[in-house]
């Protein structure tokens, strides 16, 4: 059995008096693209910073490639690359000088990928980084992360500031190509709000809320479990109330029910009422995210 690339157990981190992360558990196996999804302030960035030893957790353990990132610092860092949500570079450097600076610390650096990405992102190598827009700085950070071909890519809101065209291209082509080059060994951990755009890329995800992991599933399992049922009846009065589901919404003769793993029960219940129309569909990742967190909120 292979060693998890990322293993977090019982992580606690507190800023002054408020808990940012409270007992988080996370495991990511090699070759997976794992999404870290959550609302603003849920603890995603804090989790990533604890992972990278940028913050020291008060409790819990963090392992990268089976190693302690605080003790085996260099060994861990050699195998990963990180793109933070806000990217800063040294202002006196140009794009090329910045790439050369970061390349000097790496054992491996793919010059062809660098050239290809500079062309694709239309970045002028001679331009000073102070003259770059926020999106362009993100693109430069992505190049510095991808060119060393690390085993683990940690991306915190990587598409923040990118225009829609570049965003799509980045997700489909750049990240997709990065992982496809060595699918068994290249792992991605990405935190994002743009869940719909990353849906095609993410193999599995963890929903974080209030510093805790609420749900961890593969995307296939999520699609099987979280389903939406549409039913239309002959008469509005015939539309039933369905209990023990995530949500149930009536609209005249129509009924829309979102279920969590209770598809057969609800479908049988509705079939007995002989609706005019009955169909089911899987929720998208974004809808699952909304549904799960809404349910959690209702329960509180």
């Amino acid at each position: 059995m292979s060693t998890p690339v990322i293993e977090i157990t019982g992580l606690h981190y507190r800023y002054d008096k408020s808990d940012a992360v409270h007992g988080l558990n996370l495991k990511v196996m090699p070759g997976r693209c794992h999404g870290l999804l959550g609302r603003n302030g849920s603890g995603k960035t804090t989790t990533m910073k604890c992972l990278l030893s940028l913050l020291r957790p008060q409790q819990g353990s963090v392992r990268l490639f089976g190693l302690d990132p605080a003790k085996d610092e260099v060994a861990v860092k050699k195998r990963l690359a990180y793109v933070p949500d806000y990217v800063g570079f040294y202002p006196w450097m140009s794009v090329q000088e910045t790439l050369d600076f970061f390349a000097s610390f790496r054992d491996r650096w793919n010059d062809r990928t660098e050239k290809d990405l500079l062309e694709r992102f239309q970045l002028d190598p001679k331009k000073k980084v102070t003259a770059l827009s926020k999106g362009q700085r993100t693109q430069l950070a992505l190049i510095t992360a991808i060119c060393p071909e690390p085993e683990l890519l940690i991306l915190d809101e990587p598409t923040s500031g990118l225009d829609p065209i570049v965003r799509r291209e980045f997700i489909e082509t750049v990240i997709g190509a990065y992982q496809d080059a060595d699918p068994a060994n290249r792992t991605i951990l990405v935190s994002t709000h743009l869940i719909a755009e990353f849906e095609g890329l993410i193999d599995e995800f963890t929903l974080i809320d209030a510093g805790r992991d609420v749900l961890t599933l593969t995307t296939d399992a999520a699609r099987e479990r979280y389903q939406r049922i549409h039913a239309r009846f002959t008469d509005a009065a015939a539309v039933p109330d369905i209990a023990n589901v995530i949500s149930s919404r009536k609209n005249g003769r129509n009924l829309e029910v979102v279920v969590n793993g209770e598809l057969d029960r609800v479908m049988n219940q509705l079939r007995q009422l002989r609706p005019e129309e009955l169909r089911q569909e899987s929720l998208s990742l974004e809808e699952t995210f909304t549904a799960v967190l809404s349910t959690k909120k209702d329960r509180q």
Binding site: V74, Y82, Y90, S104
Partner: protein, 276 residues
Amino acid sequence: MNALLKKELRLVLPISLGVLGLVCVAYQLGFGGFKGSNLVALLLMGIVGVSSLGYGKELEHQTLDLQLTIPVSRRRIWATKLIAQVVAVLPLLALLNVSMRSEGPSVPTSEKEFDPIVLWPAFACSSVSLFTWKLRSMIAGAAVGALTSLVWFGIAEPALWTRLAHQIPGTIAHQSGETIRGLISSALVIFLCAFHYRSWMHGEIRGRMTAESGIHNWSLAREGGGSHRRRPLLNLIFKELRLQKPAIFVAMACIAFSLVTYACRGLFPEGGTETY
């Protein structure tokens, strides 16, 4: 030269050389002798400012996170920063030493007692903590500063090492009485320097004043519903003071140190009589 050291020197040297140039220009313009004058304050400001650049600039450019994730150990990053800091501070220290020796009889000579001025770079280098606010950084910075200055003055005065062991407690205690004014004024200089540098770092002086500048989550701003919004100037002052909390601490520590050592002067044999 490796890329990390080159980057660190690029961060700190330009400003260090700029301060050096400024002091030389000021001297040429006739600000008078270096000792006990505005130029000493200027040099001290320069030392303090330069000492804080290594971490301050990283925070300003928000490059710290990215730097800490490249495959270089933190120890090496820290060591490189200290090397660059020492290189940047040495010219200013040299100017301070040379200028004091170029003055009249009141300047310490090889016959004179240990001059506590050598410890000022220790306070200056400990200003690293103004931005990191970590005790370890403060101790490390003070140690580096003390070592730098002792090495420098030790080279200039080889007999200094033997005298130190016997003279430091008494000299500091008795000279503190004479240097309270100097210590307080230097502490205020450190505070003002850090105040202005941090304000600059946070973009206020550059003119990026936003509506948020008066609305910070400081304890003052928490009182009452919207009461803090009706006191913009006061909020601004309190916010700046809050930003300078570490600098204020250092300044208060300097004043406390001088007062305590002056109060304890009776416990030590009479040290140097140097008037500062």
